[in-house]
């Protein structure tokens, strides 16, 4: 976006942060829609486990994790021990260990601990996807924009699901439920277009992921665990056979702001 105040470095930075923040809000909208649908059904599960709408809201605003929260609600419903809760949540969310590690490599050097914990508190599959799709270092302004749009939808969706149960027509929940996957596609497919290697990896992953639904042994694992196994297997093979040149991984954020090929649209 051309800035009227281009002559003043300070103002330019400020307006750049503002426009990055606005992009964050814009890209947060499809996430918010998808979140609303998913968290609504999560709220129904929460109510079935005896949670009040407030408790559902609290869980969602503190955790931002669909599979994890779902697992947690089943523990609450069963009245199992706190230790079981901790273990199950660990397993259900273990894929975030990988994502967090990947994100750590994209943070500007010297990012303060507070900002790091801010990023990790809001590390969800969807925010990970859109943040990692941007060039340069992660921007807290962009993430903040996403969060302000998506997080309330997630939390209030859960509370509404607790209260309203099956008020939202199934047709609508079903349609909204694919919004998140549509976003994932919008992140990965352009990479396939740019690099044949990525295209190959995506196709292999799709095939492997479908196969794992049926393979004996693996198919009985939780979905989260399967995602981890597939990710580790495919990524390490790709890293072994197609290592990338060691380099400073990111361009200066100032330089990348001019290009932003992925953000031209909409």
């Amino acid at each position: 976006m051309p800035s009227a105040a281009a002559g003043y470095a300070g103002i330019r930075t400020e307006s750049k942060n503002l426009s990055v923040f606005q992009e964050g809000i814009r890209d947060g909208i499809p996430i918010a829609m998808g979140y609303f649908a998913v968290s609504f059904s999560l709220g129904i599960a929460a109510a079935a486990s005896g949670l009040t709408p407030f408790q559902g809201f609290l869980s969602s605003i503190l955790c931002h994790a669909s599979a994890g929260e779902y697992a947690g609600f089943s523990i609450i419903g069963a009245g199992a021990s706190y230790l079981e809760m901790a273990l199950l949540i660990f397993v259900a969310n273990a894929r975030y260990l990988l994502m967090s590690l990947a994100e750590s490599q994209r943070m500007a050097p010297g990012t303060p601990l507070g900002v790091r914990s801010f990023f990790s508190f809001f590390l969800t599959d969807e925010l990970f996807a859109i943040n990692m799709a941007r060039p340069g270092y992660l921007s807290p302004y962009y993430t903040l924009g996403n969060i302000l749009t998506a997080s309330p939808c997630w939390a209030f969706g859960t509370a509404l699901g607790c209260m309203a149960g099956d008020l939202l027509p199934l047709r609508l929940t079903s349609a909204l439920g694919v919004a998140l996957y549509g976003m994932f596609l919008a992140v990965i497919i352009p990479q396939a277009k740019e690099s044949r290697l990525m295209a190959g990896l995506i196709v292999i992953t799709f095939a492997l992921s479908c196969a794992c639904q049926f393979l004996p042994g693996i198919s009985s694992l939780s979905e989260g665990t399967r995602v981890i196994i597939i990710t580790v297997a495919v990524s390490s093979l790709a890293a072994y056979f197609f290592p990338r040149k060691v380099q400073e991984p990111e361009r200066e954020p100032a330089a990348s702001a001019k290009e932003e090929p992925a953000c031209k649209e909409a």
Binding site: G79, I89, N93, Q105, L172, L201, P243
Partner: protein, 102 residues
């Protein structure tokens, strides 16, 4: 054993945050190993691909609508549509198809 829902929620939140924060806390700086660098470069794409398929087909009432959403979304993304437009196209595909199918 008497349990408290708020303690459950607290345990849930603490473990969730722990998982997301530990790797960031422990790897303060760039990882030098070319293998791990490459590995982490591939992780985001692969993990999102694994999460999308086959889940998108199972998320809808009719698996056909889910599969159609996958095709429509991939085509839209290939043609350079952004996050929002691609997501809308997927939703609309499911909604319209399920009017007929379900």
């Amino acid at each position: 054993m008497s349990t408290n829902t708020y303690i459950y929620i607290l345990v849930m939140a603490a473990v969730t945050f722990f998982i997301r924060f530990m790797p960031i806390l422990l790897t303060n700086g760039r990882i030098k190993s070319p293998f791990i660098q490459s590995f982490l470069y591939y992780v985001p794409t692969v993990t999102l691909a694994a999460m999308t398929v086959p889940s998108i087909i199972r998320a809808t009432q009719s698996p056909i609508a889910g599969a159609a959403a996958l095709a429509a979304g991939a085509a839209a993304a290939w043609r350079g549509k952004g996050l929002f437009v691609t997501a809308i196209i997927c939703c609309a595909t499911v909604f319209l198809l399920e009017l007929i199918l379900v």
